[in-house]
Symmetry: C2
Subunit: 230 residues, 2 copies
DNA sequence: TCAAAAGTGTTCTGCATACACCCATGT
DNA sequence: ACATGGGTGTATGCAGAACACTTTTGA
């Protein structure tokens, strides 16, 4: 390499993940408590430095696997942050990703930093390490945009779910209230839900029907998108 | 810095800009012809390595200033690319930005790489250096999305313009045809256009009225956005 | 029988769409 | 007078928004 280029090859790069989960009532994210400086004791987004021979996507998958024990999670790149002083140890640029996890699939993984991970209600997040609040805001906004145009919300639900749960998910993500009749009309029109024939068990009210995704329709919509302007 | 971290601080980072312009008929981008390896002789997006003490936005502004002689251009971050082998000289990650320029403001700047710059019709772009075709595609898609929800298209027009020019701009960006009556109805309803009182000169047909932006309304819309689902 | 959530239809309004003719100017 | 692009209004259909009561179960 030519000499005048050397000084540019002195930066580090990381990825940070906003891992969203839905517990049936609230939208949550996974945070980890840092056990070392800088920001010792602060809560932070899971993330890691990108190795010199590692792709961005590999890096995200690695972090998610270590954190949740799960592979092939849905994720989307959101924004890259590069303020000169964003990391106290040196020049580290970072790219924020959001990820969707079925909270029921998630199990704490005893290895690595996952031991310190916790689900926190999105609305209860306080001051985070580094510029992670900024990354979080950016990811929330992107999720809100994407959920209206692509059927990604369903990555957050268990295989069988009620329409009320689905509506609650949209309400939690978009932070608005939806009309029950209009919501059902619109969702059912889209035609990617199938009745399972089952209903809720042991609820002290009229049990709701359980639905699942019609794989075919669902994959079709995944590729061409939809409009859910609520 | 701790030793085990050293190996991560060996990457370089760049920004690449898709500079859009509109000549009244077609959507164009500024490309530069490379005069050195790698990809000597190839056309490429304007861009540069980010200095160790330089913010991303500063870096974009610097490149745009060198390229066009203009400051304070509108730009938006789009996507970051980090494939391990994307740059032959070493590990260089890059973030793609798109930028909007009033083509009439643009003057070739004799300094720096601008001498080799040329406006190319978006549809005529062939094989570019590095992964720049990918970056371009990503920026075009983003521009198409953004132009429907924010009044950014107007960054591409001169201060006074006709409704037909405005429609042509939307058609060029979105690559579709629009109905003239419906377009005018919708645009005028939005209420951020003001008649200048002037009309076209020296045209061999009925001269069109010239419009300008109503700054107040325009800035209002900039912050809250709009819906232009065409 | 009561509490609690599930489930269901209609009306109204506004916006997108489709569509054809006359107008003002320069040559 | 003709060629060229500028400029205008209406009717239709569809989708979003608002809105209240009955049903089913467990306690």
């Amino acid at each position: 390499m030519q000499d005048h280029l050397q000084k540019y090859f002195t930066l580090a790069f990381s990825i940070d993940c906003v891992v969203f989960g839905f517990d049936g009532a609230d939208l949550k994210i996974l945070l980890i408590e840092r056990g070392e400086d800088p920001f010792d004791g602060f809560w932070a987004l899971p993330g890691d430095l990108v190795a010199p021979d590692e792709d961005l996507n590999s890096s995200v998958n690695r972090v998610l696997k270590e954190l949740t024990g799960l592979s092939d999670l849905f994720f989307e790149q959101v924004e890259t942050f590069g303020a000169v002083d964003r990391h106290p140890l040196g020049r580290v640029l970072t790219t924020g990703y959001y990820t969707l996890v079925k909270i029921s699939d998630y199990e704490l993984n005893p290895s690595s930093f996952a031991a310190e991970a916790r689900w926190i209600n999105v609305n209860d997040v306080k001051e985070l390490a580094f510029d992670h609040n900024q990354i979080l805001d950016s990811c929330i906004q992107r999720l809100q945009k994407s959920v209206r145009t692509r059927p990604i919300g369903f990555e957050l639900l268990p295989p069988h779910f009620t329409l009320t749960e689905l509506q609650g998910l949209y309400e939690a993500i978009l932070n608005i209230e939806l009309d029950i009749r209009n919501f059902r009309k619109k969702i059912l029109q889209m035609n990617f839900l199938k009745e399972t024939g089952q209903v809720q068990q042991n609820v002290s009210h009229r049990p709701a029907k359980l639905y699942q995704f019609d794989e075919e329709q669902y994959n079709l919509l995944k590729s061409k998108g939809f409009n859910f302007e609520v």
